[in-house]
Structures are given as C-alpha cells and as structure tokens.
C-alpha cells in the first residue's frame, strides 16, 4: 500500500508524463523516442525549428495523432486510451481555427453546448460563463461579432477563451502567436503568462521563436529532427546549451576551434581556464557575440583586428578578424570601449565560452 501511495505523490508532482513517444509518417520519422515530464501548473515550451516534431508531439497530447509507440500519462491516467473528446484539453491552433459561421459568444460556448444533456449547464449559466471569459480575455462587447470581423490578436484571444471554457486539465498552444506581428505578439505574450498563472492549468506551448520560449516558459524542451535534445529552465538551457545546435538555436553564436588540456582552454594564442567538466581534446568553442570583454592589444585575450564598427539602433556591430576568421561581435552603444575603432588591433576575451568536443 505504501508503494502505491508513493506512486500517487509522484503523479501529482509530474502532471504530464511522456515516455518513449515515437511517430512516423510513412518513412519519415516525426518523433523518435521522446520522453519528458511537465509538473502540475507548469508552463512548458516545446521549442524547435520546423520539422522538429514539436507540433506532432502537441497533437499526440491532444489526441489528434496516434503515436506508433510510447506512453502518455496525465495525472496518472493513461491518456492515449482516451479519445480526443474525453481528454479535456484546451487546444489553441496556430491559425485560430475559430468556427467561422459562429459568433464570438457561440464559439466560446461551443464546448459547453455540445455536452451530453445531463452534463450541459443551463443556458443562463453558459451565458454567464461566456461573459466571464470575454472579460478575462478583454473582449467585452465583441460577443456578437464573427471571427472575420476581428483582428488577429482578438481572434487568438477568442480561441483561448474557447479553450478555457471547458475548464481544461491542460492547455495546448500551437504557435499561438505565429501569425501575428511582432508588437501584438509581445503584448499577448505577457498577457498569456499572467492568464496561465491565474488559471492555474498545466500548459504546453509550441514555438519556433527562442525569445518567446525563454521569456514565457518555466521550462523549455528543445527538439530537433524528432528528438528531445535538452530540457531545462530558460536559464539552464541558455547558459549551458547541451549541444552546439542548442547554442546556435537559442541565440547568435561565434565559433572558434580550440584545445582543452588539463583544465586549461587554448584558443589560438590565448590560454584560459576551461569550463568545468570539459574533457581533454580538440573542441569547438562557442560564445555569444555580445558576451565578450575588450582589452588593449598588449593585454590578455584573443588578438583581433577591428575591420568595421557599425551602429545599428541600440546595438553596435563590430566586424573583426581573429586568427584569419571573420567574427561579428556585438556591443551596446554606451558600453563600447573607446579603443575599439576601425583598423585597430584589440584583445578579446569571451566571458562565458562553451566547449563541445569536435565531431
């Protein structure tokens, strides 16, 4: 009995458990043995380039796709055994998928009106719920509009209200801001996070925008070619990318060859302490173009020749040549050291280099 109890507690910590999910379309493998967990009320982002399988995984969770192998449990329940309609997941689609012939209010009420007669709320109750949700998504007064009469941002909020109306156990969002312009996207992002915290529902969010994922999520799962590459908090994955791919995908990257020997890292003529745990041997050194310190030519660091300095809005782009290789660095205008001008030699110290054994 004790064992069973322990099992129950673990289920309540990990609301969602995905184990060894594989799915192929014909000969093309969309998901390869993906396992991950989401905690109760957690905001989990599935991040990856197109074709990485992130949307397929989301559709597996919704029940719109059947995996070839693997297991999905939600709150301990075998999710794959349930048909879509019984999973009670609120899904928001990239292109909204609002019912075009229904008004905003009818869209939001849909999930309630299709219930079995015995479970269907009274008309007045449905109306109340719709009014409440309209308020929640800040669309009061638009209840009689049709989807075609709304802006993209408004449509997406209707889609979210419609998904929330069924009081879902889990919220699934498929690139919900993908079709919106940058300004609206940033506003909705904040608002979505607040909504998640208030609604207190486990959320899985698919995106290819690393900034969105790092900004919104409690944890980020990075997928590539149907495989899970790394799972961690935004800070963990940004500061300790597991592979060069993750490093590259999460932001801009500079890349240099180097050697690790006895805890020291050698890049060209510059030696420094190797990152903790780096194994000896030839490595690829990755660092962010804006995470560098500049020093005078007679100081310590990588010797670099500045080829050009260009102001680009708030950022300054510094083109330089290090060891015959063109590298594009970045700094903010006010923080640019005075010595860095075109034609001068400087020294550059990557502040947080990551090393990966050369393939």
């Amino acid at each position: 009995m004790n064992f069973r109890q322990a099992d129950d507690t673990s289920a309540s910590v990990n609301a969602l458990e995905i184990k060894g999910i594989s799915k192929a379309y014909g000969r093309f493998p969309a998901l390869k043995n993906v396992s991950l967990q989401a905690k109760d009320k957690e905001f989990l982002a599935l991040l990856g380039p197109s074709g990485s399988g992130k949307t397929t995984l989301l559709r597996v969770l919704a029940g719109l796709e059947q995996p070839d192998a693997g297991e999905v449990r939600f709150a301990g329940e075998d999710f794959l055994a349930l048909p879509v309609r019984r999973r009670k997941v609120g899904m928001v689609f990239q292109h909204y998928a609002l019912f075009r012939h229904m008004t905003v209010a009818q869209n939001i009420a849909f999930g309630l009106t299709v219930r079995k007669r015995s479970e269907k709320p009274a008309k007045s109750e449905i109306a109340d719920r719709v009014a409440h949700l309209l308020q929640l998504v800040q669309l009061e007064g638009l209840d009689k509009r049709f989807p075609s009469q709304l802006s993209g941002g408004q449509r997406q909020r209707v889609a979210l209200a419609r998904a929330l109306a069924i009081e879902p156990k889990m919220l699934l969002l498929d690139e919900p801001f993908g079709a919106l312009d940058a300004q609206v996207r940033r506003e909705l992002r904040r608002w979505l996070r607040e909504l998640h915290d208030r609604a207190g529902v486990t959320t899985v969010f698919v995106t290819h925008d690393q900034e969105e994922a790092l900004d919104l999520a409690d944890r980020v799962a990075i997928l590539k070619d149907g495989e899970l590459i790394q799972l961690g908090t935004p800070n963990q994955v940004y500061e300790h990318p597991a592979t060069p791919f993750v490093f590259d995908f999460l932001g801009q990257a500079c890349r240099m060859p180097g050697v690790v020997e006895k805890g020291r890292l050698l890049i060209a003529d510059w030696e420094s302490e190797a990152p903790a745990g780096a194994a000896d041997g030839a490595v690829d050194v990755f660092f962010r173009p804006d995470e560098v310190a500049f020093a005078p030519a007679d100081g310590a660091g990588l010797s670099a020749l500045v080829r050009g300095v260009t102001q680009r809005g708030p950022d300054v782009r510094i083109d330089c040549v290090i060891e015959g290789q063109t590298v594009e660095l970045q700094a903010h205008g006010p923080t640019l050291p005075p010595g860095v001008t075109t034609g001068l030699s400087v020294r550059i110290k990557p502040l947080r280099p990551q090393v990966y054994a050369t393939a």
Binding site: G63, V84, F93, G111, V114, I166
Partner: protein
C-alpha cells in the same frame, strides 16, 4: 480584385466580339424558343403543356431529379470529405474517376447501363426472371442521371474543403464534440453554400440531361420520356408549338438556376471554393 489593364484598340474589339457571339449564339436562340412557344398565343402555349404526356414528362423529370440529386449530394459530401481529409493510396485515382463523367460522352453513361441491365446485358436474363425492369424504366433514368451528374457536388466541395483544412473539426473534437456533432455543427455549416451551389448545378444538369437518358429511356411516350426527351418526341412529330413550349420550361429552369447561382456567387463568394467558378 485584379487591377484591370486596357490594351488600346484590343479591348473594344474583344468586347464587341464577345457581345456578338453571345447575341447570336445565346440570346437570339433563347428568344426564338420563347417566341415560337408563344407564337400562337398564351392558350396555345399552355394547351400542349397540359396534355397528359407533357404532365407525365414534367412529373418524371422532377422524380428523376428528386432521387438523383440527393444521392449525388450525399455522394459528393462523402467523396469530398474522403479526398480533403484523408491520405490514402489511390486518392488521385478516385479524383480522376469522380471527374470521368465530365470528360465522357453522356451516351456512354447511358450505354453502360444497357450493357449491364439491358435484355442482352450481363444481368438482363436474371432481371427478366425476377421481373425487375431497369432499362426503359424510371430506375434506368435515375441511374443514367446519377452517373452523368456525379462530379457536380464533389467537384464543388473538394477544393473548398481542402482550402479550409481540418483545424476547425479538430478544435471541435478537443472541445468535447463527437463525430456527428462535429459534422452537423462545424463541417456542414462551413460548406453549406458550396453544397447548395453544387446541388443547384447538379439539379440543372439532372433535369436537362438528354444523351444518357435517351439511351436508357426508349422514349416511350407518357411512360419514360423526361422533359428533354418529350421535346424531341414532339419536335419529331412536327408539333412545334408543343416542342417549344416544353423547351421554354427547360430554358426557364436554366435561367432561374443562373439567377440563383449568380446570387450565391455575389453573396457568398468567400464560402464557395475560391478559384473554381463554372
């Protein structure tokens, strides 16, 4: 809206040419039909239409359409659903087969039934034994009409449903709706105008079909003549006023179809399949 570009000199020429062709080939003959029908006055126009044979032809035409159009509506929705929503082997073959009646002479569409169910056909002897009559009977007319009008509804729905995608249906399922609820409350309302449009075209063709029907009908006056066949029978008997009177009904049917079709295109163009107008 496409921006319009005027090619100097060419534009007036083409407009004039189009109007001339339309006038000579459509408006004038259509006018002649009505002029001939009413040439001996309104009473003479009505008289042949109230003959038992004529009334029977009208009734038979309506019956054939009333059976074959719903059949094709159901088939069209089912076929479009299958083509637009599922990936399966032989899908392009299915689409080709749906289109076949468009490219095949209607005579062939009639003849196949004679080959199958006629007295000398494959099932002919068996049907005779069991006293079932298909050729030279209403059921034969229905079969021929169904075959000829097979593509109308499906062709109208397939591009629309492919264009709309399955997201709304998927959304309905995640919101707890079952298969039938989703079909009635999401799929059908989304395609209703295109379906109506397809049914309209299907109906016009079903009522006007001549070739296929004439093969299986045998043109037994007052028994197996539909309205188009009735026109031919009367015409061959030199009953011109009667022939043109019956023809005027068919022509009016065409005009009414055209008006409703234009209205649908004007009012619901967004919900008809984009880029496919007949």
């Amino acid at each position: 809206m496409n921006p319009s570009i005027r090619l100097p000199g060419i534009a007036p020429l083409f407009v004039a040419l189009t109007l001339a062709i339309l006038g000579v080939l459509i408006v004038f003959p259509l006018g002649v039909v009505f002029q001939q029908a009413f040439s001996k006055g309104f009473a003479a126009y009505l008289e042949p239409l109230t003959q038992p044979d004529a009334l029977h032809a009208i009734r038979l035409t309506l019956i054939v359409a009333a059976i074959s159009v719903p059949l094709n509506a159901v088939f069209g929705v089912a076929a479009a659903w299958a083509v637009a929503r599922f990936e399966f082997k032989g899908k392009s073959l299915l689409v080709t087969f749906i289109d076949l009646p468009f490219s095949m002479s209607p005579v062939v569409s009639g003849l196949v039934w004679v080959l199958l169910f006629g007295a000398q056909g494959w099932f002919g002897p068996w049907l005779q034994e069991h006293n079932v009559k298909i050729i030279f009977a209403t059921s034969g007319l229905v079969l021929a009409t169904v075959l000829v009008t097979l593509p109308f509804v499906a062709r109208e729905l397939i591009p629309l449903m492919q264009d709309q995608g399955a997201d709304e249906e998927a959304a309905a399922l995640t919101l707890g709706a079952g298969g039938f609820t989703t079909f009635w409350r999401v799929t059908l309302p989304n395609i209703k105008w295109a379906l109506l449009y397809g049914v309209l075209l299907c109906n016009a063709r079903a009522m006007g079909e001549f070739g296929a029907v004439s093969v299986v009908s045998g043109s037994v006056r007052g028994l197996t003549t539909t309205l188009p066949l009735h026109v031919e029978v009367l015409y061959n008997d030199y009953e011109f006023v009667g022939a043109f009177a019956a023809a005027s009904i068919l022509a009016s049917l065409g005009l009414v179809t055209l008006v409703i079709k234009t209205f649908l295109e004007w009012r619901h163009s967004g919900e008809l399949s984009a880029g496919r107008r007949h």
